[in-house]
């Protein structure tokens, strides 16, 4: 595929990794916020190619992982209602709520459907006037324009049976919260390239200046990630703390104006609870007053939700980068992709799932016993 395959060239990747080895003289801790980047790093083994001193910390950029438990439970309650068609991205189907997940609700008779785009849900609403169609609108700024358009179109078309269950989260406040947290060890960030394709990167210079950390807009393919990491290390070595764009073919400073315009109309900033982390002020979007009619939480008054996380689950620590998945006591034991305790083990890009699926669950002892040719031991 053009503009994709070229950025996966293994030989060039090896060379770029070698460059990083040459310029790094000290250990550095870099966080990639975006779950898609976590997925790519682990799946391609990018972190294995880096010098031992460079540690990639996997941040809370997985909207599936950070959607509040209470909202999941509300989603389950709505999906279970007769007369409702509940539409969602595939990612959300196995995220555990307090008692169940969407898959189980489907199994019990709920009309739960996977769609590729929120517009598919709008079409369903138009075709099924006797049903309430609810779309589970989770995501970061990348997905918000799609969700905004869906509700904007529903309004324009006068659809009374479409609503959005919203849980949008924003990157800049998350970065600030991580940098503010006591004991923070993150020294630089790879910025989420596709979030920036929408929002630009004009929000970040104040952050870089205030916290004195390099912030590098980075793409998702192996060469893009290596380039983002290389530039970050160069800044760290030189004591710089600037915002840099390593994804120029897709991202520009101002971002997508048309998208930002509709986002400002459809959404407004609000405080948001991040599962496993807690409330980060002004870190989310909810529907604005003009669109509040389409808010599923308001349309379906769900009460009596009693949320309870598993006490064994350390998703929050993992999401903050304070703990590696393999350091969690339940990792690989009570908590596996088959029996996930928290969202980070379910989501395909959740750090715990990524670690498990891509083979980081082998302990150092087992690895020593298993012989050569296989790696996967975590750093440090």
């Amino acid at each position: 595929m053009k503009y994709l395959t070229e950025f996966r060239n293994g030989e060039i990747a090896q060379r770029m990794a070698r460059e990083i080895h040459q310029i790094a003289t000290r250990p550095w801790k870099i966080m990639e916020v975006c779950g898609g980047q976590t997925h790519s790093i682990i799946r391609n083994g990018i972190d294995q190619m880096l010098p031992a001193g460079i540690e990639m910390i996997h941040g809370p950029g997985c909207p599936v992982c950070v959607t509040p438990l209470e909202l999941i439970d509300k989603a389950l309650a709505i999906a279970a209602q007769p007369g409702v068609i509940f539409c969602s991205f595939g990612d959300m189907l196995r995220v555990p709520g307090t008692d169940a997940d969407l898959f189980q609700v489907k199994g019990a008779g709920g009309d739960v459907r996977v769609v590729y785009s929120p517009l598919d849900a709008v079409e369903l609403a138009a075709k099924n006037p006797d049903k309430q169609v609810v779309f589970f609108g989770v995501g970061f700024e990348t997905t918000a324009p799609a969700n905004a358009m869906s509700v904007h179109l529903a309004k324009r078309r006068g659809l009374k049976n479409f609503s959005l269950l919203v849980s949008h989260v924003l990157v800049p406040p998350a970065i600030a919260a991580i940098l503010d947290s006591p004991g923070n060890k993150v020294q630089a960030f790879l910025l989420a390239g596709h979030v920036c394709s929408v929002m630009g990167y004009w929000e970040y210079p104040p952050l870089a200046a205030k916290y004195k950390v390099p912030l590098v807009v980075t793409g998702f393919e192996p060469l893009d990630l290596l380039d983002g990491i290389r530039r970050t290390v160069m800044q760290l070595e030189a004591g710089k703390h600037e915002v840099e764009n390593a994804y120029e073919r897709v991202v520009n400073f101002d971002g997508n104006q048309a998208a930002q315009k509709l986002l400002a109309e459809v959404f407004e900033v609000t405080d948001r609870a991040w599962r496993g982390i807690g409330v980060i002020p002004k870190s989310g979007w909810r529907l604005s007053a003009a669109y509040r009619d389409f808010d599923a939480e308001e349309r379906f008054h769900i009460t009596g939700i009693h949320t309870e996380e598993s006490p064994l689950c350390h998703s929050g620590d993992v999401l903050r980068g304070a703990m590696k998945p393999s350091e969690c006591g339940a990792f690989g034991k009570e908590c596996t992709p088959r029996h996930p305790l928290g969202a980070t083990m379910v989501s395909s890009e959740g750090a715990c799932a990524a670690y498990y699926n891509y083979g980081r669950f082998i302990s150092a002892e087992e690895l020593a016993g298993a012989g050569s040719g296989l790696t996967g031991v975590t750093h440090g």
Partner: protein, 365 residues
């Protein structure tokens, strides 16, 4: 977690299953009802087999868990297999449920080393299902049977009320004659064996995806459904007992099949991602939906585990056959990291490829 569910010693009510004979202390945790993932060909489905069917039906023929059961009937060695077909839509690019129904069972017999001979065909039809569609399906089955060289010799038809059946479900069962001297099975892969695949992976699953409501896309991708017994016959004729294991990677894809064999044989496997044959459009469709081709279903491919000295010969035989033109050697079996499938990525790093959990779902993240 992990508590035994004890049945009462008195007569249990007919609606409460008796768990006291279960072989595994872990109950079917987490899912008190069947979910779609149980049919996905991955871990959930395997759990049903291991924790429900096996303990209940207990016998050595079943416990082999091969694609077909190997039966001894007064001296004659037969293989028997069954498969049910619930695909939606019934007609898809490159095939139909009818073709799948015939080829699926034919292939299960063929990869067990048998020559497929006879099939049964049972239909569960939904009230209101158009006869014209049934006729088209049956016509497909007749043609497929002729291509595969098998006869459909018995069958059954049931009708369920409107709303209870998705149009048409088909079950086929088949018997075949086991070749003397040929012993293949999922437990027979050995360290050093070459792993070969007969062609491009992921065609069938993505052909279905391309017409699935909510996810449709336009492409030239067609199902690869085909009868594999001819291809397999040629391979066995050329390499004989050097072929240790064969399987057709259907639901759950190549990854699940390799993992199953790794489990059964107690070996590790290493494959090279850059040598996996994938059609560019299939790769693109997977990129679009966030899917991995190694987990996508195939209906016309075989994975072979072959003694290394015979690998080149088998590859030549495959490539000379119309169904094996894109055959490739993708890896080898190892005594290390037992029961694990490891892939070397294009970056030169190693990653473990686990078996699929339920069904692979499109993702946005």
């Amino acid at each position: 977690m992990g508590e035994n569910v004890k049945a009462s010693t008195q007569e249990s009510s007919s609606s409460v299953p008796d768990f006291s004979n279960w072989s595994c202390p872990l109950p079917l945790a987490g899912y008190p009802t069947i979910v779609m993932g149980h049919g996905g060909g991955g871990k959930l489905g395997n759990e049903l087999v291991e924790h429900l069917f096996l303990p209940a039906f207990r016998n050595p023929e079943l416990e082999n868990l091969g694609d077909a059961a190997v039966l001894d009937m007064g001296g004659a060695r037969l293989a028997m297999s069954t498969d049910s077909f619930v695909v939606q839509p019934l007609f898809f690019p490159g095939g139909s449920i009818g073709e799948l129904a015939v080829y699926g069972t034919v292939n299960d017999l063929a990869v067990s080393g048998a020559e497929p001979r006879f099939l049964s065909a049972s239909f569960i039809l939904e009230e209101g299902f158009p006869l014209a569609q049934l006729a088209a399906i049956v016509d497909d089955m007749a043609k497929a049977a002729a291509i595969a060289g098998v006869k459909i010799v018995t069958g059954d038809t049931k009708v369920v009320e409107r709303g209870h059946g998705d149009g048409c479900y088909i079950n086929t069962a088949g018997v075949g004659a086991l070749r003397p001297g040929i012993q293949v099975g999922p437990h027979r892969a050995q360290a050093g064996d070459a792993i070969l695949v007969s062609g491009m992976i992921g065609d069938h699953g993505m052909a279905i995806m391309s017409v699935r409501e909510g996810l449709e896309f336009e492409s030239q991708i067609r199902s690869d459904c085909a009868a594999l017994n001819g291809l397999i016959a040629e391979v066995l004729a050329a390499a004989g007992t050097a072929v240790h294991t064969m399987r057709d990677p259907t639901r759950g894809g190549l990854a699940s099949t390799l993992n199953e064999i790794a489990q059964s044989s107690g070996v590790g496997m290493e494959i090279d991602e850059t040598s996996l044959p994938v059609r560019p459009e299939v790769q693109s469709a997977c990129e679009l939906l966030g899917l991995d081709p190694v987990y996508v279903a195939n209906e016309g491919k075989v994975v072979f585990f072959v003694a290394p000295e015979a690998a080149q010969q088998v590859l030549s035989v495959l490539r000379a056959h119309p169904l094996g033109r894109d055959a490739a050697r993708i890896g080898h079996v190892t005594a290390e990291h037992k029961r694990m499938l490891v892939a070397r990525t294009a970056m030169g790093a190693n990653r473990v490829i686990p078996t699929q959990i339920g069904e692979q779902l499109p993702r946005i993240c």
